[in-house]
């Protein structure tokens, strides 16, 4: 290479692509956080669907319901120790929850910082209520979850004061109290809203809604999941309260 060639390389500006943000990587972007939320959200969707299916066994009576609970603990045996698969699932859920909640927190903080001065008047045009209440909805679900686990899983608290080792009785006792049912129904409303937007949002975040048709489908899926999951969950408490399901 002659000396003039060297000089040319030095002044040519377009040989290298300038990067403004040093060390920018796809994995460090807000969109990556969103992708993690979407994936963990999908895990939750899978969980609530199957959990709801399990709950509906209550209509088959005490035995069926408890068998199902028992079955969950014994699948995989003897390959896996007792409750092995359950723990694997639980672990997956815990990790997802940590990821989902942490990402939600980071994104929410970013969003708050992105608009430090609020508008005196602000109207929304076409966005759904569900889309604007994701954060509150998420917190509601989280609070509910803590109570729910104390109630049914970790704590086994029977607010009616009855038996606690029998899942079926525990459940029926709980929902025989009208205020417990209300708590659950409120939580289910939050879940419905969360799923209504969350499903479409996850599809969009995953980049699956590039056409008007796919967007319509994703929105429809949001509606269906919201109604099916929240409706399906609500059937059991309502039926208990109305006396359709009894001890």
């Amino acid at each position: 290479m002659s000396t003039t060639d060297v000089k040319w390389v030095l002044v040519a500006t377009t040989d290298s692509r300038p990067t403004l943000v040093k060390g920018s990587r796809a994995s460090r972007s807000t969109i990556s956080l969103k992708l993690m939320m979407a994936v963990s959200g999908l895990v939750f969707i899978g969980f609530v669907l199957s959990h709801m299916y399990g709950n509906l066994k209550a209509f088959g009576g005490e035995e069926k319901f408890n068998d199902y609970a028992e079955h969950l603990r014994t699948i995989g045996e003897p390959l896996l120790p007792e409750s092995g698969l359950l723990w694997i699932l639980r672990l997956g859920l815990i990790v997802s929850l940590v990821v989902h909640v942490t990402s939600a927190l980071i994104l929410a903080r970013r969003a708050r910082a992105a608009r430090p001065v609020k508008y005196a008047v602000k109207k929304n045009r076409h966005s759904s209520i569900s889309s604007r209440t994701m954060r509150w909805g998420g917190v509601t679900i989280l609070v509910f979850l803590v109570w729910h686990l104390l109630n049914f899983s970790i704590g086994k608290v029977n607010p009616a004061g009855g038996e606690t080792d029998n899942p079926y009785t525990l459940m029926v006792d709980t929902f025989d109290l009208w205020w417990m049912t209300i708590i659950y129904l409120v939580a289910m409303t939050a879940l419905a809203l969360h799923l209504h937007h969350g499903t479409w949002s996850a599809a969009q975040t995953l980049g699956l809604t590039n056409t008007a048709a796919s967007r319509t489908r994703a929105k429809l899926a949001g509606w269906v999941l919201a109604v099916v999951v929240a409706g399906g969950f609500s059937l059991v408490p309502l039926s208990v309260l109305l006396g359709i399901i009894e001890k």
């Binding site: 969109i31 992708l35 969003a111 430090p116 005196a120 889309s131 994701m134 969009q204």
Partner: protein, 247 residues
């Protein structure tokens, strides 16, 4: 018609601002919103009060300079730019609140004027095709499928006004970003840099302090050029690909 205006006044970037009340009379419904403000300013000038500063240039809906939050809606109640909004969209005696775009990345410079140079820097980060002058091949040597070219055109009509940011509850510029990613990503000429472009532009977007997108959709309904939400899906999809490629 006669109107009452609540207008945000702020002397400069570091000054404290406040809403002020003004009255304008004899406004004809064929006037544009900015012509109505011209009347106010002419009036203030006569009275010896500092006229209200606002950005505007082409006054035909294409330069993207004008940017007012009118009664809580970016560019006001119609789907158009502020300069193309006409007074026939208002009624006699109405009270109208006028504020600047609110976003941390768009600091207020004076009154209703904000600094949108963050958008320039997002483009600088990668919103281009590296094609040096004189190095271009014959234009028809690379055909571009018509439907893709149409989609590219449709989203390339973004005027960089920032209404999407102003309307987004998260202060996100994802629609603006997605429009450019989709425009260049749909054309054969945009392919070589497609995945570095998305990483760099998203990094700059985040760096500027815009919020993350939670797919609320207010942006698209405030966008005077009706850029559809699927550009955000495209943006996410391209980022996901970049992530997979380890960029």
């Amino acid at each position: 018609m006669n109107l009452t205006l609540n207008i945000w006044r702020q002397a400069h970037q570091d000054a404290a601002g406040a809403m002020h009340r003004y009255h304008v009379t004899d406004i004809s419904e064929d006037m544009s919103f900015l012509e109505m403000l011209d009347v106010l300013n002419e009036d203030l000038n006569v009275k010896g009060e500092d006229p209200v500063a606002f950005d505007h240039d082409c006054r035909e809906g294409i330069c993207g300079s004008c940017d007012l939050m009118i009664d809580g809606q970016a560019h006001g109640p119609e789907v158009t730019t502020t300069c193309q909004l006409h007074m026939r969209s208002f009624t006699d005696g109405q009270e109208i609140t006028i504020e600047p775009w609110r976003a941390n990345a768009f600091p207020v410079i004076k009154d209703l004027i904000v600094d949108r140079s963050a958008f320039d820097r997002i483009i600088q980060a990668g919103g281009y095709v590296s094609a040096n002058t004189g190095s271009a091949p014959e234009a028809n040597s690379v055909p571009a499928p018509r439907d893709k070219a149409m989609r590219a055109f449709n989203v390339a009509t973004c005027i960089g006004c920032g209404a999407c940011v102003a309307a987004c509850p998260n202060g996100s510029a994802s629609l603006f970003l997605g429009a450019k990613i989709t425009h260049l990503g749909e054309l054969p000429q945009g392919q070589p840099e497609r995945y570095t472009r998305v990483v760099d532009m998203v990094a700059q977007h985040d760096h500027e302090g815009f919020g993350g997108c939670t797919n609320i959709g207010e942006c698209s309904s405030a966008c005077p050029k009706e850029i559809p939400l699927d550009v955000i899906s495209q943006l996410n999809a391209d980022l996901r690909t970049a992530l997979r490629q380890g960029r």
